[in-house]
C-alpha cells in the first residue's frame, strides 16, 4: 500500500485516469473466448433454416454422420431429453402474454431464417462445416409474417398454434380523461408515424463459447462471450437441469455486447448439453454471416405519436401507440424492451396528460431483444421528432419550443405523469450550453444565407433533448413490471494481509473499464493508490453473486455496492484500530489510509497495520472476526435519470441526397463522473451507434423473409470516415439516488443522437416542405424525398 501524507491526500474520483485494462488488450495478451485453447474440444456447427417460415418434412443426417471427423449429428428430437425446460424469457410483461415454445433446435416448424435445425459435432471446425453441408432437410414453405402493420391484422400467422400474432398488449394510462380533454381542447395537434428499423448489434467479437465438462466430478465450466455470466448460470441450470453448484460460468475478455450478449442462446445450451452427453469439451464460434441472423436484433417498432398543444407551444397531452417486433421468439427480455421506454415518451417536458399502449407482435424474423438504449432511444426519437414537427407547425424555433416545455430545474425530484420520480437535472442549462457551443445563432444565419443563395449544399441543424432511466433497478419496481429477477448488485472488498486490496464485483464489463473505475472508487475512499486495488469479476466461482452489465446500471448500482462495501471495511477496521489504540471509536477519524485521534493527528495507526492485525487475529476486540472483508448486496431506491442536449449539424447534398454529419455537439449530465476519460469514450461510441441508426444501418429483408444484408460488407457499420470528431461538454447534477451521485453513461449517446441527426436532415430540407425522413437517411431515400418534394 502506498502511503500518502493525509494533508496531501488527492482525490482520485473525477480525474482522468488511463485504463489498467489496456496493456493486455494492446498486446494481444488477453483472451477472448475463441482464443482459449482447450485440448480435445469438439466443434459444434449448426445447420440453419434458409426459410423464414416452414414445416420441416424430413431431416436426413445419414450422410453427414458418416463423414470424416464427425462425432454426432443431432436434431431437436434427439436432444429433447436434455432439456428441463424451454429457452427462458425472464420478462412476462402481462399475465396473459403469449410465448411460443422455444427450444435450442427447431422441431416441427422453423420460424425465422437462421434458426437451428440440426447440430453437428466434429473433431475439427472444417469437418463440422463440411458435415453440416451434407445434412439434408426438406421443408414445406409457409407464408412468413414480416411486416408489423400486417402482423397486427393477423392475416397470416407467425406461429399457427398461437392463433394471433399479438404476444401482449401493455398499457399505461394514468389519466385517460385528461388525455382526451387535452386533445379535444388543443389549439394544435401533431400526429405522426415513425419507424424504428431493425438493427443488427454487430459487436466486433462474434459470439464464442466453450463448455468444459468434468465427467467424473459432474461439473461444467462454461466460457462464453456473455454480458451476463451470473444470469446465464441460473438460466443454464434451470434449462439444462444441472444443479447450479455444478456450473461455473466465466466471461473471459468480451469484445463488446451492446445488449446482444445479454441473452441465453441456443448454442450455449447445445454446447452444454452435448458436452454432458459426449463427456468432452464442446466449442462454438459463430461466423459473422450466421451471427447476423442467429444473434438478436434491436429496435423494430412502428410508433404512432400524437401531441396536443396550446397555441404558444405548451404541450398538454401525449398519446403513444406502438407496434413492437418481438421477432420469432421471446428471448431473455424481449417483451420488456418497449416498456423501458414506456415511461419516457414525454421526454424532458412537463406534460400533464399521458397515454401509452404497446402491442408486442411476432414476426418470422430473428428475435429482437435489448440493444444499446433498449426502449429509450425509441421514446426519445418519437418525442424529439414530434417536438420539431410542432415547432414547424407553430413556426417557432425548435430550441425555443423546448425551452417553454422543460421540466424546471426547481421541480426536482420531479414526479412524472407516468409515475417515475426523476432524480435531478438542469435541462435549460444543457440546452443553453449546447446552443452556445454550437454557436446556434450563427448556424441559423448561415442556413439562411445558403438558402437565399440557392446552395445545393443544404445546412441542417438538429436539436435533441433527452432524459433516460437507467441504473436498473429497484427490485420492487422490477417486480411491479413482472420482471423475473432483481436489480441489486453485489460487491466484496477485502484488504489482504500485505494490505493489497481485492474487490469482487457482480458486474461483468466488456469494454466499460470497470477494473479501472472500481479501483478508483475504492482507492479514493481508502486513501490509497488505485494500483494497489485489484478488481475481480465475470467468473461465478470468484464472484458468486451479481446481476451483470447492461442498461447503464453498472456504475450506479455496482459501483455503489463497491463504495458501500469499502465503507463497511473501514468501519470494521475502525473497531480494531480503536481497540489497539485504546480509544473510543468516536474519537477516531479515517484520513489518508490511517486511523488517527481527532485533534491529535500524530496519534495514528495505518490501515496496513490494521490489515495485518486482522490477519494474525492476535489482538482483536471481543466480537470482531478475523480478516478485513465486507460484502454487500445493494438494491437501489430509484432509477437514475441521465439527460442532455445533443445538436447535429449536417450538410445535405441536394444533387446526390448524401448526408454528411459535419459537427456534433453533446452536452450530457450523467451526474458525478468517476473517470471523465471513460465517460467521454462511452459518449463517443454511443453517439456513433445512434448516428448509425439515423444514417446507415438497417436489417433488410426480402418478401420471403431472407435477411439481405447478413454480412459486414452489406450491413453498413460506420467507419472512421462516416463520423466527425465530437464536441463534448457536460453539466453535473449529482443523483441523490446513490452516495456517489452518479447516473450512468453507457447508452446516453445512443439515446440522444438519432433524433438529433434526423431532425437536422429534415431541417435542411424543410423549406422544400419535407417534414419527415425515415431512418436510415440513405442517399437514395433523401434524393427521392427531394425529387418528390420538388415535383409537388
Amino acid at each position: 500500500m502506498t502511503m500518502t501524507d493525509p494533508t496531501q491526500q488527492e482525490h482520485i474520483i473525477g480525474k482522468r485516469r488511463v485504463r489498467r485494462e489496456d496493456p493486455k488488450l494492446l498486446s494481444g495478451e488477453n483472451r477472448f473466448a475463441d482464443d482459449l485453447v482447450v485440448p480435445g474440444a469438439l466443434h459444434l456447427v449448426l445447420v440453419r433454416s434458409p426459410h423464414a417460415h416452414a414445416r420441416i418434412r424430413r431431416i436426413d443426417v445419414g450422410a453427414a454422420q458418416s463423414m470424416p471427423g464427425v462425432v454426432g449429428v443431432y436434431t431437436a428430437q434427439d436432444l429433447q431429453a436434455e432439456w428441463a425446460g424451454p429457452m427462458p424469457c425472464a420478462w412476462p410483461v402481462t399475465p396473459d402474454m403469449k410465448s411460443p415454445t422455444h427450444y435450442p433446435l427447431a422441431g416441427e416448424f422453423v420460424h425465422y431464417a437462421g434458426e437451428g435445425v440440426a447440430a453437428v459435432v466434429a473433431r475439427s471446425q472444417v469437418e463440422a462445416v463440411d458435415a453440416a453441408g451434407a445434412v439434408i432437410v426438406e421443408y414445406e414453405e409457409l407464408a412468413p409474417v414480416l411486416d408489423l402493420e400486417d402482423a397486427v391484422r393477423d392475416a397470416a400467422l407467425a406461429h399457427e398454434e398461437l392463433e394471433s400474432n399479438a404476444s401482449f398488449v401493455w398499457t399505461l394510462e394514468p389519466n385517460s380523461e385528461a388525455v382526451d380533454a387535452a386533445f379535444r381542447d388543443a389549439a394544435v395537434t401533431i400526429s405522426e408515424r415513425y419507424v424504428q428499423q431493425r438493427l443488427i448489434p454487430a459487436a466486433m467479437e462474434p459470439r464464442a463459447m466453450v463448455v468444459v465438462p468434468s465427467p467424473m466430478g459432474g461439473d461444467f465450466t462454461v466460457y462464453s462471450s456473455t454480458q451476463i455470466p451470473h444470469v446465464l448460470r441460473v438460466m443454464l441450470a434451470l434449462t439444462a437441469g444441472i444443479p447450479e453448484t455444478k456450473l461455473r460460468v466465466v466471461a473471459p475478455s468480451v469484445g463488446g455486447g451492446f445488449g446482444s450478449k445479454l441473452d441465453v442462446y441456443a448454442e450455449e445450451l447445445l454446447c452444454l448439453a452435448l458436452a454432458r452427453r459426449l463427456r468432452q469439451p464442446v466449442r462454438f464460434t459463430e461466423e459473422r454471416g450466421e451471427g447476423t441472423m442467429a444473434t438478436i436484433h434491436g429496435r423494430g417498432q412502428v410508433q404512432y405519436m400524437e401531441l396536443a398543444a396550446d397555441a404558444d407551444g405548451k404541450v398538454r397531452g401525449i398519446r403513444v401507440k406502438l407496434l413492437a417486433d418481438m421477432g420469432a421468439y421471446l428471448q431473455l427480455v424481449t417483451p420488456g424492451v418497449p416498456l423501458l421506454g414506456a415511461f419516457l415518451y414525454h421526454g424532458v417536458y412537463d406534460v400533464g396528460a399521458y397515454s401509452f399502449t404497446c402491442t408486442g407482435l411476432f414476426t418470422n424474423k430473428t428475435p429482437t431483444d435489448a440493444y444499446r438504449g433498449a426502449g429509450r432511444p425509441e421514446a426519445t426519437y418519437a418525442i424529439e421528432r414530434a417536438m420539431d414537427s410542432l415547432a414547424r407547425k407553430l413556426e417557432m424555433d425548435p430550441a425555443e419550443l423546448r425551452r417553454r416545455n422543460f421540466i424546471a430545474a426547481e421541480k426536482f425530484p420531479y414526479e412524472s405523469v407516468a409515475g417515475l420520480v426523476f432524480d435531478s437535472g438542469s435541462y435549460q442549462e444543457n440546452l443553453t450550453k449546447a446552443l452556445d457551443a454550437a454557436d446556434y445563432g450563427q448556424l441559423r444565419a448561415e442556413q439562411q444565407q445558403r438558402r437565399a443563395a440557392g446552395s445545393p449544399r443544404r445546412l441542417g441543424i438538429g436539436v435533441s433533448c433527452y432524459v433516460e432511466m437507467c441504473g436498473l433497478a429497484p427490485s420492487r419496481v422490477l417486480a411491479s413490471l413482472n420482471y423475473g429477477a432483481g436489480g441489486w448488485e453485489a460487491a466484496t472488498v477485502r484488504i489482504l494481509p500485505t494490505s493489497k486490496v481485492q474487490v469482487v464485483t457482480g458486474t461483468a464489463p466488456h469494454g466499460q473499464g470497470h477494473e479501472t473505475s472500481w479501483s478508483m472508487i475504492v482507492a479514493d475512499k481508502l486513501g490509497i493508490s488505485p494500483d494497489d486495488v485489484e478488481v475481480l469479476h465475470s467468473d461465478t466461482s470468484i464472484a458468486p453473486y451479481g446481476m451483470d452489465t447492461y442498461g447503464s446500471r453498472s456504475l450506479s448500482v455496482g459501483g455503489t455496492a463497491v463504495y458501500l462495501a469499502t465503507e463497511r471495511v473501514i468501519e470494521k477496521a475502525m473497531k480494531i484500530a480503536a481497540h489497539q489504540m485504546e480509544v473510543a471509536e468516536e474519537d477516531l477519524e479515517y484520513v489518508g489510509a490511517a486511523f488517527r485521534v481527532k485533534g491529535s493527528p500524530e496519534q495514528q495507526l495505518p490501515l496496513a497495520a490494521i490489515a495485518f492485525e486482522a490477519f494474525t487475529a492476535h489482538n482483536l476486540p471481543d466480537g470482531v472476526e478475523p480478516n478485513l472483508e465486507a460484502s454487500i448486496s445493494w438494491d437501489p431506491p430509484n432509477f437514475t435519470f441521465p439527460n442532455g442536449t445533443h445538436i447535429a449539424v449536417v450538410e445535405v447534398d441536394e444533387e446526390t441526397g448524401r448526408v454528411e454529419l459535419v459537427r456534433y455537439i453533446a452536452v450530457d449530465d450523467c451526474g458525478n463522473q468517476i473517470n471523465p476519460l471513460i465517460v467521454e469514450g462511452q459518449i463517443h461510441g454511443g453517439i456513433t451507434q445512434g448516428v448509425a441508426q439515423a444514417l446507415y444501418e438497417e436489417a433488410l429483408y426480402d418478401g420471403s423473409g431472407q435477411l439481405l444484408n447478413a454480412s459486414l460488407a452489406d450491413y453498413l457499420v460506420p467507419s472512421a470516415c462516416e463520423v466527425p470528431s465530437f464536441e463534448l461538454a457536460s453539466t453535473v447534477t449529482p443523483s441523490p439516488t446513490n452516495p456517489l451521485g452518479v447516473k450512468g453513461v453507457g447508452e446516453a449517446g445512443t439515446i440522444g443522437s438519432a433524433p438529433a441527426v434526423i431532425n437536422a436532415v429534415v431541417d435542411a430540407l424543410s423549406d422544400l416542405g419535407i417534414t419527415n425522413c425515415p431512418m436510415p437517411a440513405t442517399p437514395e431515400r433523401v434524393y427521392q424525398l427531394i425529387q418528390q418534394a420538388k415535383s409537388e
Binding site: 488511463v18 498486446s27 463517443h684 459486414l712 460488407a713 463520423v723
Partner: protein, 157 residues
C-alpha cells in the same frame, strides 16, 4: 505444405493445408491469438497484421503467400522488456480502445498509416482507418491516438 515465416522477428515453420489463411496460421499454428477475426467478408480489419511492413487483412492472405516473408502481429510491438510501443502507449493514453477486439487491427493499420505519411492530419488518419471497424469508440479517440503517436514519434526522429 510447408511454410516458413519470420513472425515478430522469429523464424517459424508449419505444415498447413494449401487453403489455410494467414490469420489461421498465426492463431492456430503459432498460438498468436492477438490477431482477431471479426467477419467473413474481409470487411472489419480485426485481423490486420503487417506483411513485410505493410498492413494486410490476414483473412485475405493465404498462409502460403506469407512463405519466406516477414509478419508483424500485435504481439510483436512491445519491446522485449515489456515497454509498450509509442503507438500502443498513445492508444492507452487517449482511451482509444474499449472492448479491445478491434484494437490489434487498429494498431497494426495505424502502424502503416504512420509509416506511410510524413505528416498527418485528421482526414488522412480517418481515410487510413476506413477498412477497420470499431463498434465501441466512435473512432474519435483512435484518431486522436494516431495523431498523438505521430507527434511523439516524429519528435524522436
Amino acid at each position: 505444405m510447408r511454410v516458413e515465416v519470420t513472425v515478430n522477428g522469429q523464424q517459424r515453420t508449419a505444415d498447413v493445408e494449401p487453403r489455410t489463411l494467414l490469420v489461421h496460421l498465426l492463431r492456430e499454428e503459432f498460438g498468436l491469438t492477438g490477431t482477431n477475426v471479426g467477419c467473413d467478408t474481409s470487411s472489419c480489419g480485426a485481423c490486420t497484421v503487417l506483411l513485410d511492413g505493410e498492413s494486410v487483412k490476414s483473412c485475405t492472405v493465404l498462409a502460403a503467400q506469407a512463405d519466406g516473408r516477414e509478419v508483424t502481429t500485435i504481439e510483436g510491438l512491445a519491446s522485449a522488456d515489456g515497454a509498450l510501443h509509442p503507438l500502443q502507449r498513445a492508444f492507452q493514453e487517449n482511451h482509444a480502445l474499449q472492448c479491445g477486439y478491434c484494437t490489434p487491427g487498429m494498431v497494426m493499420v495505424s502502424m502503416s498509416i504512420l509509416a506511410e505519411n510524413d505528416t498527418l492530419d485528421e482526414a488522412t488518419v480517418r481515410e487510413g482507418l476506413e477498412g477497420n471497424l470499431c463498434r465501441c469508440t466512435g473512432y474519435h479517440n483512435i484518431v486522436k491516438a494516431v495523431l498523438a503517436a505521430k507527434e511523439e514519434m516524429g519528435a524522436q526522429l
